[in-house]
């Protein structure tokens, strides 16, 4: 029995080693695949013709939909920034999703809102009843819709889609700030290939402690607190370079809900966002893939590394934990819903590579990661694994993970270099170490809890995320 147990432990250890090797190598391949695109995008930036897109009378107008729930700390700054975006024709639709704070009052005061009658189309399903619709007396292209809270961000977005007037819809979180040119950049694929491009997303970067002036991030910097700082490096590695890689391989499954542009007709065709799924952004993109591939229609879902949306990330462990549990749970719901695509050649790369990757590494990753730790401890205590080997294994695994973070940081330095201060580079390197020693294990625990909640099938909800507000901190001088 002991011998059998010993054999089992040894095999499991080998499995864990192979698993991490495969996971990290996939990340590395994604970074490498994305690098070519990032470099090309960067070099083409000087010929990108933003002025032409801006001046072109044929550039499609955009409806920017902003769901807001208890966002009084950031809402005015955020809406002002969106109205000031450099784009020929846009409208901003703020959907006040049953806020109990002063979100609406602040908007009403700032933009001198008046109640107007405006019928809502029923093109995509909604839950919460719309209470009233408001437009500014000053004539700005803004619409504020007040509705009852249904506890789902997707519901607010669907209401926004129903009220939208333009052929492109940009979904932006209320706690996010777009770079002034971001909309022009992210719309470019739609302008270049209007028939094929169905969705495009931009990069999400951490805005905590960045200097903000009139809704614009003017002094990006790494946050001084460790939790947001580690998230900044995490966003850089997995969200920026990971997604660029998937986009390069035409396998992008997630466009962040914080910043994504979709063709309105496609959104209506697929029925808007799923009101039951917690990862409604990923589910939407997967559903679009599902439909397009099932109908064998040519289409593109694009990720662009250059247009940036700055967002506030959680600063406390409890809020971050809730967020990550929700993500993990939403991912499980989404993967289960689209399980019919798994390993089906009809769905091409999505069915054969991307979805298996998400099942094996993103969904079940925390199970293997957290199970691996006690098994290694058992192997050590039974004397199956020598301390020397265990140390070397740990070092190799950590080294590989750290190598990936260094790859992402170096690529950032060589390309966008959004954090101009030398000390930010140093802090980012330290954060990459912290991310792999402690944060990663904690993250795996949160993801496991989210997975468990999905398995139990209890009704999930978004929960509150306290905001600090932009510009709350004085800008520090640049070095």
């Amino acid at each position: 029995m002991t011998r059998f147990l010993g054999e089992l432990v040894i095999w499991f250890n080998w499995f864990v080693l192979a698993y991490f090797l495969a996971l990290h190598t996939t990340y590395l391949l994604l970074i490498l695949a994305g690098t070519a695109d990032v470099v090309r995008e960067l070099r083409a930036r000087s010929f990108s013709g933003h002025d032409d897109i801006f001046a072109n009378p044929l550039t499609p107008p955009v409806s920017v939909v902003v769901p807001a729930h208890d966002e009084e700390a950031v809402i005015v700054e955020s809406v002002r920034a969106m109205l000031a975006l450099r784009y020929p024709e846009l409208e901003v639709i703020v959907v006040d999703d049953g806020s109990r704070d002063g979100t609406f009052e602040k908007l009403s005061r700032e933009f001198d809102l008046a109640e107007v009658k405006r019928p809502m189309s029923r093109e995509v399903p909604t839950l919460g009843t719309v209470r009233s619709v408001h437009a500014p007396r000053g004539g700005q292209p803004l619409l504020v819709v007040r509705k009852e809270c249904a506890g789902r961000r997707a519901d607010a977005l669907n209401v926004g889609i129903n009220y939208s007037r333009h052929p492109l819809i940009c979904m932006v979180d209320a706690d996010s700030l777009l770079d002034p040119e971001a909309l022009l950049e992210v719309v470019k694929p739609f302008v270049d290939e209007p028939q094929r491009t169905v969705a495009a997303g931009g990069t999400i970067r951490v805005a905590n402690e960045a200097a903000v002036d009139r809704g614009r991030v003017v002094g990006p910097r790494l946050p001084s607190r460790w939790l947001p700082r580690v998230q900044a490096v995490e966003y850089l590695r997995s969200f920026l370079h990971g997604r660029t890689g998937w986009s390069r391989l035409s396998g992008l499954l997630i466009i962040s809900g914080a910043f994504g542009v979709f063709r309105r007709d496609v959104l209506v065709e697929v029925g808007g966002l799923d009101l039951r799924c917690l990862a409604e952004d990923a589910e939407l993109v997967t559903r679009i893939h599902h439909r397009m591939r099932a109908q064998r229609r040519p289409y593109r879902v694009v990720f662009l590394a250059d247009p940036v949306c700055w967002t506030e990330v959680p600063t406390t462990r409890s809020v971050l934990g809730r967020q990550r549990q929700r993500w993990s749970r939403g991912l499980a719901e989404m993967l289960w819903k689209h399980r019919g695509m798994l390993l089906r050649p009809r769905y091409g790369l999505i069915g054969l590579v991307v979805l298996p990757y998400y099942w094996a590494f993103e969904l079940l990753g925390p199970v293997v990661e957290l199970l691996g730790l006690p098994v290694v401890a058992i192997a050590l205590s039974l004397g199956i694994l020598g301390l020397h080997y265990a140390f070397l294994f740990a070092l190799a695994s950590l080294g590989y993970a750290l190598f990936l973070s260094v790859c992402a940081l170096s690529l950032e330095e060589l390309t966008f270099r959004r954090y101009p201060r030398w000390q930010d580079l140093g802090w980012a390197l330290l954060a990459a170490v912290v991310e792999n020693c402690g944060y990663r294990q904690l993250h795996a625990w949160w993801r496991l809890k989210g997975l468990w909640a999905a398995l139990r099938g209890r009704a999930g909800s978004w929960g509150a995320m306290p905001r600090m507000g932009f510009g709350a901190l004085e800008p520090r001088p640049q070095s």
Binding site: F47, N56, K117, R118, V191, F403, L409
Partner: protein, 363 residues
């Protein structure tokens, strides 16, 4: 096994160090280059400004011809060429030619580097010499999409109407240029290109017809109204009908009302009906308002079409407003949309009155 693990750890550590060293060196090099460029710019800006204003002769700022000076001059000149006209523009082009930067750009259109080819196209376009058209049209067939886009854009800036057939031709073929880029390049050519565009409305290719219709609409080309009206009525391709409907609205001729009214009727695609309604709103006048009113009051029409029709009526002046009021009082399907459009119209009227009062008070 232990040795293998040790080697892996050492290899990873070395790779990380190498990556970091590269990143730091590149950052240092970029910082140095930027500092040098700033210094050069500060040194040559007064000379440059004096030359531009015609006070000084051609500046001879560096007999040694340093690449930094060329780089800074090129960037300064390119930036200014987008903003100035007349004598100042000629002086800037003269400076580029005197320093051999135009010849260098022509040579670089054959460079192995796609970045250099695209950059050369941009400079040639900014120079705006129609004789450079063959160089740019060759680049419109380049193997790299970014170079083709830069070349098409630059070709438009030369303002030579001879470029029309080739630019339109670049819409199709094995190495196409995006329609939006070609359309904008055609717009840059200016209204003189209209004579070359009108025959393309009868082209066998739908993308060619659509592009020609869009650009003629932007030019407000009255002479193409009847051809565009025919396209709205009977073109087999929906994208062409849509482009023609938008163009008729931009031209604003009352002759466009009849075909647009037909396109507004039930049975046509919603996108076309919306474009027709918006165009009728732009044209205005009794006939257009009658068509819009019948559509909104009678239906059947989708939510989006009803909204656009109501908004079109709202922008058609007092007659359109009166039509909206009648529909808003009625019980037809267009009632909520008429009420919504009126609400926004009232806000705008209130704003106008407020502004007028303010102006009177300050006067």
């Amino acid at each position: 096994m232990g040795a293998l693990l040790l080697a892996a750890v050492a290899g990873l550590a070395l790779a990380q160090l190498a990556l970091l060293a590269t990143a730091v060196s590149v950052r240092l090099a970029q910082d140095l280059r930027q500092r040098r460029d700033r210094e050069v710019a500060a040194a040559i800006r007064p000379v440059f400004a004096g030359y531009l204003l015609g006070d000084w002769p051609l500046p001879a700022v560096d007999p040694g011809r340093s690449p930094a000076v060329d780089r800074v001059l090129e960037s300064l000149t390119l930036e200014l060429l987008r903003k100035v006209r007349g004598g100042e523009r000629s002086r800037l082009v003269g400076l580029l030619e005197a320093r051999g930067l135009v010849d260098r750009a022509r040579r670089r259109t054959r460079s192995w580097s796609a970045f250099r080819r695209a950059h050369a196209a941009e400079l040639l376009g900014a120079v705006g010499d129609p004789r450079l058209l063959p160089d740019l049209l060759r680049l419109c067939r380049d193997r790299v999409p970014e170079v083709r886009v830069a070349a098409a854009r630059a070709a438009g800036k030369l303002g030579n109407p001879q470029a029309v057939p080739l630019l339109v031709g670049s819409l199709s073929g094995p190495r196409p240029v995006p329609a939006s880029v070609v359309t904008m390049a055609l717009v840059h050519l200016g209204p003189s290109a209209a004579t070359h565009l009108r025959p393309l409305l009868g082209s066998a290719s739908a993308p060619h017809r659509a592009a020609a219709a869009q650009v003629l609409g932007v030019f407000g080309d009255l002479a193409s109204t009847s051809q565009l009206a025919a396209l709205v009525r009977q073109d087999p391709d929906d994208s062409v009908r849509l482009a023609a409907a938008v163009a008729l609205g931009r031209i604003g001729s009352p002759a466009g009302v009849r075909p647009l009214g037909c396109a507004l009727a039930a049975g046509h695609p919603d996108a076309l009906r919306m474009a027709a309604a918006a165009s009728l709103g732009r044209i205005g006048g009794s006939a257009a308002i009658r068509a819009l009113r019948c559509c909104l009051a009678g239906g059947p029409l989708s939510h989006q079409v009803a909204r656009v029709v109501a908004e079109a009526l709202a922008q058609s002046g007092p007659e359109g407003e009166a039509a909206l009021e009648r529909i808003a009082r009625g019980r037809g399907p267009g009632r909520p949309h008429a009420q919504a459009a009126l609400a926004i119209l009232r806000l705008s009227q209130e704003r106008t009155r407020e502004l007028r009062r303010l102006r009177e008070r300050t006067a």
